[in-house]
Symmetry: C2
Subunit: 583 residues, 2 copies
């Protein structure tokens, strides 16, 4: 080893020991008689001291070491005269007696500090320098810990980690596959998996009983702000279980991770039906860090000649505790917020419950004090509260109110990144109608089982939308971090599902024949789940973006700015792959 | 849960408990009054008993359950009248009181038994059924354990698992890349990594200090018998270390795995230079489960008018202990063996050391008893031994003798799959001369550092072949399971290496610019290693082929027979990717 200790481990009890450290120059201060260097490695920072009086040559040498030079130093651990209580090593410094410059460094294009002066593009291009920043490194250390703890938990529950193939078969269904031309099979292509779904189901058919994998998946979609073309899943499947068993097993995982990684006890992990989530939060991934449930007002507000409410399919609102004092300006801001095109409400009705119990609304022309008291009662509102009400087509209005609720939660400081509220959303619809294509799509995927009690509804096109699935999502702080379902394991039901989804028999056979065939040979009842690992890590890290929890992320054009990929390839290589570029 | 216990856990102490089991019908025996079913799951086999007298309806139902039907049964644990000591559950059986057929099964295309009647192709096509066989499942359970123990060990040594990208940049150097057309960047391609080499080096530049990953890699090569287009590596890198530190750390890993997974203490892990490996074993991956070292005979055999030896650059042999009694037929077999085209020796000279000490050779015409005694002395041979000698061009002869040595080891039973001999081979040459292209190639890869004491040899084309690298391979039982090197971390040396390897400055910049640039910003001394995880698992499993240690392997044409990939894709999809098939 080129060192005896790391830059994070020396303490006052090491005093007088002769040590050798290696690391990077974080910063250097020349105080005339003394020169100090903060030497950094993954484990911490240790102060090096060079004295002009005792060793001028060495001190001069130290002064020449620029930021990010790589040094090896030997010296004595001594007590600092002025201690730094912010640093675990802050009680000591190294009185350096020998210094080797292991490598020099050009001046980095941005500062390697928490508040860096580097813009996104620059930091992506020099990702290897951005990764030197303590917070980015901490994110990846958190990720490591999450992966390790996930494996420990699942290993302890008899799950076997099985690697499924990356070079698989393309399926036209769903989002776009990345494909890989096969040199050995000209004209043919592999596809990269969007998930190991069918393989994990085949492992259940094989009797593996409990499978997991922390696995890369791929999706060639137009990238939204926080999507990556390659992403990581915690992918799991279990046999001979019911939905309840899956929920118990994986809330166990979530509790384990919070306990081991964050030191947080998650005591409650409530369950909410999809129907309730939509009704009370206007979202299938409600942020339950705060209450502010939707209250439907149709029964209370209709028939008072207020056309907007009378014409609306749904009038629904939230009660913002203690916001009665909101100014006109603040209320206008909220109105503007809900009227933004991406939210799409036509207006916002409010009512303040004043301190004296009187109520003042934006629609006093139509609603008298008695009527407004009924509103307040519906909300269980108290003096000081502010009612915010939207009206219109039901689904759209709920969606808009969900946005307003989240905005109010943020304004009221109810969405603290270090508070965690976990929730199972269950009983998702099996199918989702697509108006454009006039057909149903699988809400989860084509392998999800309908609830046994709803199977009869599959017989009628008009009731297909009412069929519920044994499908579930894990939602934390309003973010869907995982989802899964009980699977179909009966070949007749699976064939029927493909038919409902508009597959011809031939298409179903061509694409999923191997799974349908496998179901002929004794498939067990099984169910599973997958967690978005990048997202889970960013949530644990209290961050909004997944990008800083990925060592080498791609930008919104799917480009790795550091290595400059994708890139052109040789004509010779194309020829070997039996493809050519389309002009 | 659909069960209270697994099929592997019930014992005599569970007697009289009412239990519910789920599993597959392994086999069924109808003895008239009684029907017995062996119910199988991942955990074991439990015998179910159905009695015609006590419950005829149930017994009839049981008789109808074919092989591989999926059952759920409830009943009482009772002591068996005739116990099966080969089965952990062999002391008990279940007196079944209720039976649910969870799924039926067609007759499998081959028997789900250790000695199956299924051929390779059939078993690949129905891999999900082959995976039901206990030995195949055991292989994958071993693999799981290996991965988990690898992570535990490295985690304990402060290694951080970092996921490196799968969609990277194509490099013309080395074996062929799989490429992935980018839809968003028409005409451009990602490549799948042959290894995360440059990324792990960048992580060292980032200060990650210790990195590991159990990671899929890809190589579009013509597949030899035991290669897969996608394979898994244990990939590691460390900073501020010397070769010795890497060797110590990873022989620790190997010892840990043997101890935890196999219960074997590896006490010795010797080191051998590449030069010695070639001299004494004719191979850079000697099987050291047995001795039988090469003995060079030039000094002893020359000048006796035996033209074959006199003309040979090298005369070299092995001593097969106790084989003096080999028959003429056996010796002819060995001669035929070494004369096979893939081995390519022109003949085999032998000498038997008889029990009475007399020596009889195939070249008695040229060598008298005194001369032959000198041979025997060179080998330290004893009465009863057989000397086998080859002659010719040095490298080719060593290679041929290596094959003969391995053959003799096998014939003498010295290559037991349950005996393990580990070895580091060190001091590999840095460069390898390619006669066809009249240039040097990197023996390991272009990032490997020359030994400091050999750097001066880089200045002269004629001495390039003599430069040794700080490169090392881990060899177990004659199989190279891992290899690595101390890396270049100096940008000038790296540029020089690219130059020696025939890269123009532009090519080097185009392909590895990001790494060369990274070296401008403070690269630490670093070194690493990668283990072939599939191979390591098969070795631990005592198997020759890696295929049965991979859940869903591809065949020698790179085809997944089960899902029938690769396959053609839609013209529409090709169009979106801006490529077309070359006619």
């Amino acid at each position: 080893m080129l060192r005896t200790h790391t830059c994070g481990e020396l303490r006052i009890q090491h005093q007088n020991q002769i040590v050798t450290l290696c690391g990077w120059v974080q910063k250097s201060r020349d105080l005339g008689g003394m020169t100090f260097i903060d030497l950094r490695d993954r484990y911490g920072i240790t102060q090096l001291a060079f004295n002009m009086e005792t060793n001028a040559v060495l001190c001069e040498q130290a002064r020449k070491c620029g930021r990010e030079f790589v040094l090896q130093v030997t010296g004595k651990v001594i007590e600092r005269s002025s201690k730094n209580t912010n640093l675990p090593t802050g009680e000591i410094e190294i009185e350096v007696t020998s210094l080797t410059i292991l490598n020099t460094a050009n001046t980095p294009p941005f500062t390697i500090e928490e508040q860096t002066d580097g813009g996104d593009d620059l930091r992506m291009k020099y990702r290897y320098l951005d990764l030197r920043r303590a917070s980015v490194r901490a994110n990846l250390q958190l990720r490591h810990q999450m992966a390790q703890q996930t494996r420990l938990y699942l290993d302890g529950k008899d799950f076997i980690e099985v690697e499924t193939p990356v070079l698989i078969k393309s399926t036209p269904e769903g989002a776009r596959d990345f494909v890989v031309p096969s040199r050995m099979n000209p004209g043919e292509f592999y596809a990269l998996p969007q998930s190991p779904q069918t393989f994990k189901q085949l492992l259940m058919v094989s009797g593996f009983d409990r499978y997991y994998q922390v696995v890369k998946c791929f999706r060639d979609e137009d990238l939204r702000a926080d999507r990556q073309p390659e992403f990581t899943q915690i992918d799991c499947e279990m046999s001979f279980v019911e939905q309840e068993d899956v929920l118990n097993t994986f809330e166990g995982l979530v509790k384990h991770l919070f306990k081991q990684v964050k030191g947080i006890d998650i005591t409650e992990l409530p369950r909410m039906t999809y129907a309730d989530a939509m009704k009370y939060y206007g979202s299938d991934k409600p942020d339950t860090r705060f209450d502010m449930k939707f209250v439907e007002l149709n029964a209370v507000v209709k028939g008072k000649n207020f056309k907007v409410f009378d014409d609306a399919a749904l009038v629904v609102g939230i009660c913002a505790k203690g916001c009665a004092e909101y100014t006109r300006k603040q209320l206008d801001e909220l109105t503007d917020f809900v009227k933004r095109p991406q939210i799409g409400a036509t207006g916002l009705v409010y009512a303040r419950i004043n301190g004296d119990g009187s109520i003042k609304s934006s629609v006093d022309k139509f609603y008298d004090e008695t009527a407004l008291k009924e509103w307040a009662a519906a909300f269980n509102a108290e003096p000081g509260d502010l009612l915010l009400i939207l009206a219109g087509e039901a689904t759209k209005t709920r969606k808009a109110l969900n946005e307003l609720r989240l905005e109010m939660g943020a304004r009221l400081g109810l969405r603290d990144k270090n508070t965690f509220s976990c929730l199972w959303v269950v009983d998702f619809p099996l199918l989702e109608f697509n108006e454009d294509e006039n057909r149903y799509f699988a809400m989860h995927h084509p392998f999800t089982a309908p609830k046994p009690e709803d199977v009869k509804l599959l017989d009628n096109f008009d009731t297909l939308g009412n069929v519920r699935a044994n499908a579930y999502d894990m939602v934390i702080n309003g973010v869907e971090v995982g989802g899964g379902s009980v699977r179909i394991y009966d070949k007749t039901m699976q064939a029927r599902m493909f038919e409902i989804l508009g597959f011809t028999k031939e298409e179903a056979q061509h694409q999923f024949g191997f799974l349908m065939n496998a179901f002929e040979f004794g498939a067990p009842p099984h169910a599973g789940i997958a967690f978005g690992f990048d997202r889970l890590c960013s949530l644990f890290g209290g961050a909004d973006s997944i990008r800083d929890f990925i060592a080498f992320p791609k930008n919104n054009s799917g480009r790795d700015m550091m290595i400059d990929a994708p890139s052109t390839i040789d004509v010779k290589q194309l020829k070997e792959l039996s493809i050519e570029l389309k002009s």
